[in-house]
Amino acid sequence: MRKKYKKQAVGFWILRVCMGIVLLCLAVILWDIVSKGAGVISWSFLTENPRKGMTEGGIFPAIVGTFLVTVITAILSVPLGVGCAIYLHEYAKGGKTTRLIRMAIRNLSGVPSIVYGLFGVVLFVQFMNLGTSLLSAGMTLGLMTLPWTITASEEALKSVPQAYRDGSMALGATKWQAIRTNVLPYAMPGMLTGMILGLSRAAGETAPILFTGAVFYLPFLPKSLSDQFMALPYHLYIMSTQHHAIEKVRPLAYGTALVLITLVFFMNLVAIIIRYKLRKVKLQ
């Protein structure tokens, strides 16, 4: 065998091993959570309040809280993110300022989530006087996901050929008409995917909601935007590190983790389905 073929074989094997290690890690984590958490999953676990100092009962308020805070995050971050992306990609002149802004946005997506949490406390909880509430937490998560939504939306816009814009404008469309009718529809799958992935990350975050609205136990569901709430990731954090009877509630913690990753998994699945559907429509 010639030397270059040997080299190729070695290269392929290194890549296979890398892939294998990643898959193994994922499998171990999933197996650990599913095997230890599946036992406590039941209808009552999903629909009941925690009882007896959270040693019994379900996680219903945490599920509702996570759902609500994610909705608020989406309401804030989706329109703002899409708007920013359209402006940056379609309207802003590609000068120094634009590049600087883009660089800043990319960097923001690397800022640790706890920093967003503290920022949220200062801006929303204290300065805007919203208190620790659903709204504060949702807005903090919204801020955190903005860089992702902007970047994903911009990438999606970039993938739409310039010929669609030119072709449209050459027929007498205004720039906005060209964008609305001949760019956005085709950028939509990519935008949605990026956004849902961003939101699913937000749904699993603890640090940004820690000081801005989440509490470890509430005997009732939030009734307004200014109420505090329970959330799955924070509940999990409490159950696995802060609880007075950690060993006893361990199965409940695993059950919570399973619910959380299932939720995130479903959101990602929705993203995949939307992308697939829209792509089919596009190429019908």
Binding site: P161, S168, M169, A170, A173
Partner: protein, 274 residues
């Protein structure tokens, strides 16, 4: 390229314009026109007149500015950062660089077909109807009639009438290009700009597009950029030869190809360089 060229003064330009004998009214008049990308001058003091219902072929070596020139007539170059115009292009006497000119309206009257066919990812019908819809036409019957008429004028109707609502991407390259022509025709332009419309097509598809251009000039004033000398000779009534951003010669096609008044034109059309 090591060719020395004497720059035509504006006076010579005027003479060139007049040298082309005219039996038709002037549709477009280019006067002392210059175009810059930032500091680079891409087109240098160009003068020419284009007559109504004629086809003008624009030829010249790559990078001579012929596509840039074409894109000035519907101001598509506006989308490029640093683009700057000096001089006048008058269409029906109106300078298209006037400050109060409505560019969107200009583009409706000066249609363009791009080098690479660019059907939109919509159905054949929706592609042709697109221009009507964005111009605010909602009457469904009118749109349907106009789509049929445009596809017929683009010699595509018979091939697609049974699959109007199928994706335009399913068409062949030549059909896609004719679809783009139909799309441009639907908004009833007066001038049609064709930027190497057949460069990616096989000879049969090319022949169809050329035949179509012949038909279209009855109703439109057409400018076509082409790399193919035979094509220019076949489809155009007048030919403009560009080099390094300058208009070297502009005359009746017949004269350009058989008896050009400049040596460099002769060298180019006979394939001695370029």
């Amino acid at each position: 390229m090591n060719v020395t060229i004497d720059t035509p003064s504006s006076k010579e330009g005027e003479q060139k314009g007049q040298a082309v004998s005219s039996r038709r009214p002037v549709k477009i008049e280019v006067r002392q026109f210059n175009f810059y990308y930032d500091t680079v001058q891409a087109l240098k003091s160009i003068d020419l007149k284009i007559f109504e219902n004629t086809v003008v072929g624009i030829i010249g070596p790559s990078g001579c500015g012929k596509s840039t020139f074409l894109r000035c007539f519907n101001r598509m170059n506006d989308t490029i950062a640093g683009a700057r115009y000096v001089g006048e292009i008058r269409i029906d006497g109106r300078n298209i660089f006037d400050k109060d000119l409505d560019i969107v309206n200009l583009r409706r009257h000066v249609g363009m077909v791009f080098q690479k066919s660019n059907p939109f990812p919509k159905s054949i019908f929706d592609n042709v109807a697109y221009g009507l819809r964005i111009n605010g036409i909602k009457d469904k019957e009118f749109i349907a009639r106009k789509v049929e008429e445009s596809l017929k004028n683009a010699a595509l109707w018979d091939e697609v009438k049974d699959r109007l609502h199928k994706s335009a991407f399913a068409l062949s390259g030549g059909q896609q290009q004719r679809l783009c022509i139909a799309r441009a025709l639907a908004v009833e332009p007066e001038v049609l700009l064709l930027d190497e419309p057949a460069s990616a097509l096989d000879p049969i598809a090319t022949a169809k597009v050329e035949e179509l251009i012949h038909e279209l000039k009855k109703n439109y004033t057409i400018m076509i950029v082409t790399h193919n000398m035979q094509q220019a000779a076949r489809v155009s009534d007048y030919t403009a030869f560009f080099m390094l951003g300058e208009l070297m010669e502009y005359d009746e096609t017949n004269k350009i190809f058989t008896n050009p008044s400049k040596k460099i034109t002769e060298d180019y059309v006979t394939g001695r360089f370029g």
